[in-house]
Amino acid sequence: MTNTSPTSAHSPLATRSAGPFSRRERWLSKVMLFFEDCIKVPLFHCQHCGECILSHTGFVCSQRCPKRIRNGPCGGTGAGGRCEVYPERMCVWVLAWRRASLLGRLKLLYRVEKIHDWNLEKSSAWLNVFTGRIDPPQWRVPKEALPVAAAPENPAQDPQGERTTHSTQEEVK
């Protein structure tokens, strides 16, 4: 897999792919997904991206966006916060913003979300947290300003900067 490259771990954008799913993991994922769906589908209209960021987006699933933007919203939100592609729907990012403000979780919307790892599509995010493929949900709203909000002028000089909060988890494992 791609993670054999020695530099990939240093990339702020690299998804942390722990290699392909084993047969056992695939099976486990299916079982877990059944239980996960029972909660996440009725509550959040989960789209099974396998890389859940619900805790960052005010518990509104961002993957319902027709462009599947992980750092939304796009520039086309219409009057009253309607989706530009399907005007009969609300923009999920407007909903995320509303609910995040309500829950006092606006700060988490400042995070730059990682590029999606499509290997994780239709897998269980719970299992992926457990196996260390993805970051655990961030329940607590950070008190201090998020690293990304206070990023240096030129992020190229400090590519690790905005990911420090994630990598600590990784190193513990």
Binding site: S5, S11, N71, G75, W97, V112, A156
Partner: protein, 305 residues
């Protein structure tokens, strides 16, 4: 002087926009380049805007370079996955293209191929970060580049879509990821633009990036009405609609409105330049630039426009 140098020196910047043709006719691009040469600092080349197939933005950028006009190539995430984006960008850098505008892209549903598969592998913010990383010498895979590109990265912002606070969060994310300049959607509502700019200034964002305000000269009432109705996330002050409806010569009124907007935007602290978008009316550019007093010394107004 390149766009990068001019922004670094805090000089007022003028960008324009060029839509490539729906054919392989390079002469169209060369002709349009003539309207911009020597008058504007750089010209955006749209990447299949509104999801309609047009000549490639990178190829058009190369043609503009040959014509002596500095291009800003737009790159959207709608049509390419991360492999194609990085490959195209390496190709663009190899051909001497320096400026890049990173966009998510209009949804394919609005275009001429509504049944197409939208890729959206990355979003605009992730694209900015990816390009920033390529500049630093690494691909997304971690592969080290023997020769790294040196793109000057720009991004778009829409001060007119809701909700305002979310717009600023996203603007901040774009700047933190590496956007050195920001081009806004066309301004037709100065109050709303002022509110957005005020919030951006309060966060100090105008100091971390160059904000170029969009100005779109309209040819007719129909064009303005179309934008008000069809373009998502647009906000148009009804006063402009009334003025266009009442005007005896709509084209002249369109130019007057554009000039008024330019004057008002120049006076706003935090606006580093304007981005002129004469959609399907590129020929008006020289007149507007001259009338607004933005033309560099020594350039004269060609009458054939």
């Amino acid at each position: 002087m390149s766009l990068r140098d001019k922004i670094a020196r805090d000089e007022f910047v003028v960008c324009a926009e060029l839509g490539p043709p729906q054919s392989c006719d390079a002469a169209v691009i060369r002709k349009k380049a003539g309207y911009f040469r020597g008058l504007v600092d750089a010209v955006n080349i749209t990447d299949n805007q509104t999801a309609i197939v047009r000549l490639s933005s990178i190829a058009a950028g190369k043609i503009l370079l040959e014509e002596g006009v500095e291009p800003i190539v737009q790159m959207t995430c709608r049509d390419r996955n991360r492999i194609a984006i990085q490959s195209d960008l390496l190709g663009a850098a190899a051909m001497g293209i320096e400026n890049l505008l990173c966009l998510t892209g209009d949804h394919q549903r609005f275009g001429d191929h509504p049944e197409a598969k939208g890729v959206f592998d990355l979003d605009s913010i992730q694209l900015i970060a990816a390009v920033q990383q390529m500049n630093a010498g690494t691909l997304l895979s971690g592969q080290v580049l023997k020769k790294a590109p040196d793109f000057y990265i720009g991004a778009a912002a829409n001060p007119f879509a809701e909700p305002l606070e979310m717009r600023l969060i996203r603007l901040e994310k774009k700047i933190s990821s590496g956007a050195a300049f920001i081009q806004t959607q066309p301004v037709f509502d100065l109050d709303q633009f002022g509110r957005w700019l005020e919030l951006a200034r309060r966060r100090g964002l105008h100091e971390r990036t160059a904000i170029l305000a969009g100005v779109l000269p309209v040819k007719s009432l129909k064009a303005l009405e179309y934008m008000a109705r069809e373009v998502p996330g647009m906000r148009i002050d009804p006063a402009y609609l009334e003025r266009m409806a009442a005007a005896a010569a709509p084209q002249e009124e369109g130019v007057t409105i554009a000039l008024e907007l330019i004057r008002a935007l120049r006076a706003m602290p935090g606006v580093a330049g304007i981005h002129l978008m004469p959609v399907l009316w590129e020929s008006i550019t020289p007149r507007i630039i001259h009338a607004a007093g933005l033309a560099p010394a020594g350039s004269d107004l060609r009458t054939d426009s």
